[in-house]
Symmetry: D2
Subunit: 342 residues, 4 copies
């Protein structure tokens, strides 16, 4: 059994990690920390875990994180980078669900996240945990930068086009829509049901932190800097991301075959048949990305539709997928939940 620790865990990626770990046959949750809620049974905060998770939140200062095989950081940005060095030194593998190790260029990270990075040397070592892109590197890593939710949906959608070199790299557009759980379990007025319910809006058009992460990933795949416009929106639902991607074709290509070939054999990417439209509910509560590719009116604008559950393939499910790879387990172990519909 893999001994698992969680730092943080009072947010939505935390409770989702707990839900999935409770069903994983080879993982044993050993400790979960929360400075603020130390002493509270986890199931008192998250009543869905009653009878399934008996641990209490522990004080981070005394929690036996060093005895774990792997520690997940389900914390705000800027926490993992202060504790990872020590954990790695103790032989613990680390999977950070926040953004501390996602951006290789330190000045870029520091600009977007407004902090000085505490361990730049580990950023170079960290592996970006998108298994469909980086599977082999992940297997040998000590430190995983688990991708953001928008970046997962957008990169999986664009990747076949970019790797194949068939689109104009200067004008990529990602119009993305997220449910409100993406904003986290924070007491903020704008995320109240009375504010965000029955309402739709764009936000962060001038610049969102996931922009440099996506740009970095696409640029690496392209071998050159891409031009990306990324517009996130808030949609009145709890879970789910729908990314609608636009690019201009520069070569004639069988788009359907391109996508099917790229993702053949991938357990967690499902390419739909021509003409279909994926829905976010078709992936609700499960670790899967469903993708459809369209070429409206036979023109030279390609439209890719990519959906994930932001808390699963966009966060905690992908983190477990990475854990499985890190420990040589079957990649899909504990991730066979069927999406919940309706």
């Amino acid at each position: 059994m893999i001994k698992v620790g969680i730092v943080g865990g009072t947010g939505y990626t935390g409770v989702e990690l707990l839900r999935l770990l409770a069903q994983h046959p080879q993982a044993q949750l050993t400790t979960i920390t929360s400075r603020k809620e130390a002493g509270m049974p986890v199931a008192d905060m998250f009543p869905n875990l009653r009878g399934r998770v008996s641990l209490k939140f522990e004080d981070p200062a005394t929690a036996p994180l060093h005895q774990c095989d792997v520690v997940f950081f389900a914390t705000p940005n800027g926490i993992a980078m202060t504790q990872t060095r020590e954990l790695l030194a103790a032989g613990v593998k680390v999977i950070d669900l926040a953004a501390d190790f996602r951006i290789t260029d330190i000045p870029t990270w520091e600009k977007w996240y407004g902090m000085t990075h505490a361990c730049p040397e580990l950023v170079a070592e960290a592996v970006y945990g998108l298994p469909e892109l980086n599977r082999e590197k992940i297997k040998g890593a000590r430190l995983i930068a688990n991708p953001g939710c928008y970046p997962t949906a957008v990169q999986l959608g664009f990747m076949p086009l970019i790797e194949a070199g068939v689109v104009d790299l200067k004008y990529l557009i990602a119009d993305a829509k997220s449910g409100v759980s993406g904003a986290g379990r924070k007491a903020e007025v704008h995320a109240l049901l009375a504010e965000a319910g029955d309402n739709f809006k764009a936000y962060g058009v001038a610049g969102h932190r996931h922009l440099p992460e996506i740009s970095q990933g696409l640029s690496r795949a392209a071998g050159q800097v891409v031009g990306l416009t990324f517009v996130p929106h808030l949609t009145p639902m709890i879970r789910g991301i729908h990314a609608t991607l636009y690019a201009r074709l520069t070569k004639d290509v069988d788009l359907q075959a391109l996508f099917e070939n790229r993702y053949r054999g991938e357990t967690f990417v499902d390419v739909l048949a021509p003409g279909m439209h994926p829905e976010t509910r078709s992936v609700r509560a499960a670790n899967i990305c469903r993708i459809a590719v369209h070429r409206p009116q036979g023109g030279d604008t390609v439209v890719v539709l990519s959906v994930i559950d932001n808390l699963v393939k966009g966060a905690s499910g992908q983190a477990l997928q990475n854990m499985n790879l890190l420990f040589g387990l079957p990649e899909a172990m504990g991730l066979d939940q069927v999406p919940v519909l309706p």
Copy 2:
């Protein structure tokens, strides 16, 4: 492996049964029928099942239902009663998720359901499939009448009070609230998002089909006819039932102990600590009923709060729980999903 057939299956109890069966280690889905959709892959109708259920809907006339070990009817009322006799004769066990076998008194059934019953003799044989009440009878049955969603939540909430004889049986009130999936997957204007969304209403105050079912269950437990007022409401969510039950205490009793003792050892009933309020999301997509009991201001009105997922403990999950009992499997097999929150 138990060979499983489903009749119907294009509705919400059908897709939920499929979701749960796909995760059951001892059940093998053999055939699923739909007169209307014969030939269509199940996963084309329910995209959450892509990659998990490969069957197509079959024509009921030719589907090999007789070769199954058990057949679930996830059909409208009035279908199961026309096919059950033949299936039982072929040695197939039958679990009806509709109402055909729930009401023992035939004239009552015929009045509320507006049909002549096709096999009254089987009604007498059928066992009402509420395991927390009828576990032993279920184990030896051939034919299970799976309870309705409201009746499950209401009976589990009232049962400890009635069995203990501590409330006035003439004035029981069940104020119940349901998500819209309870109305089924039918094209009806009143259930549109634009109609039922951001809206709350009572319905069927003059009389709802679940009233005689609940009354029958409570009266049996009481050993006398009870007086029940049942008011169902439609609440703008997808899954979940919340029953708020009121009764007048006739004896002083430790209510908390009464409920805890009644449900000690029950895997699928969770009695909350004093003062707590169960939420429907705490049982979303899982086979569990959570109950809290209150005595406001120390008066003699007892208030019971009982929540289930109408599609799981209120329908398909309970049906699998019954299947497990019928076949001597551990009662909780394949029903260990953790509720999905948020």
Copy 3:
């Protein structure tokens, strides 16, 4: 034109008051205060008011409240009581949308609201602003205690039964369901869309602040202390309250006629035809209460269904209705909005 001031106004009753005042032909909004947001244009906080309300929030210390004809307090509990004496002395009429003047019995108020009352002598003078009950007293008042949202729906529903003396006063049950705007525009985790969405729960079963307010009103009408069980619930919608009321009939009576007669001539109470069920959306954004009365199965339990928009008839609309009465205007002036459906 009536010069109107608003104290507070950054919450939902505030924005709703502004929406309605902007359409009132005889009211002129003169000043609106907010300690925290002083200097911010009101329309920056509430974008629906762009082009319709040009005022900025003013510092309460310097705002010309004394020059107003009427001041509305759309503040948390405990604010109005500290400023009302001075305003009344300056000849300004006061309408408090909070609870400071609702409960006549000071110790009861202090127990439920956890504060020492700052001006008990004004509580005796204040008139409870439920026009359908207190119309004449309101016309001559200086100080109005605007009713709570639940109390409005529940009292209007029970009143005909209690005034007519046809129900058992010891066992009244009010099962009430509210949209989340009733919780106010406060940054609290439990009211997030990701928490309150697709979820239903009871809360405050042990005791809610609206219980003594409702009990006081019903007891006054009954001429004796009534026994009331009040269970509020949170339902995943933005606006609306649905109260389901239960009482035991002690006399045979034509319930439909009783209700129709009681509310004949009332502009803002609509008694539905027998057998109907009111929906909250039928009153959305308008100042009206719709009521239906049922007697299920002809038994002796009467069921009343009463719906309002908690922000209009349950708060700001009723406050304007009171203002109209205070200033001798037609009671319905500025309150002729048609409910918004869908």
Copy 4:
């Protein structure tokens, strides 16, 4: 008073037209027809209209439409074209809320709507009723083709850029999101709350009927055929459209000034300050379009955000705006509702 008739009126644009007409000081609803619901009081179908609209639906065969000054068609596509000739001949002005007269090119219309056009000669006469574009022509018209909901939001957002000739006309992208009331009040499974709730999806990527309408409008303004990719999405809310528009700048221009100048003096178009994001709820239930223009990262992709209430500025409110123009009334008469928030 203008005598108003409505043909159809059992759908959402119908009830919205009734809500607005009930508050219009110069319009008198004279007759409303429905073949299917003839004889039913309108307020029985739409309970928000109780006490406000006393008419019954009339049989179209006998309804006195010819005595009206104006007739609105709130019907499915293909109805208005069969009755308009006769009404015009009788001196009645006609406003069609459906699509019969929107597309000038008859073969294009027939291809997208799958019918033979019944009166092509009137298509040439009809004026496209987007007042911000066609105000003077509307004033003198007999027959108005009221724009579609998506086309209103998209055209108002793109128009300043196209008229000024500052974007590449070959690659315009409109990523639009609509609430479910846009699908109409039809009994269809895909629009059930249990299907469309908590879900997000694109639809009609291969081609949507609003594509030729938008293309026609933009091409006219451009003086050449434009290249447009239009992707509509369904978002789980009742009212509202959010269009996110992308174009490539070909000239350096002060975008904010361009938009402000274009819409200066327009009552029903609100250009937000730089950096703002409009929300659909800020226009809920009111006749207004709010627009913001962005240039992310100072690149040459311009992003326009445009929101309307699909049932008001996207349908019935705009129809009344057109009626006001047709009859020489102030354009904003009866359209001064303040948006409902929250």
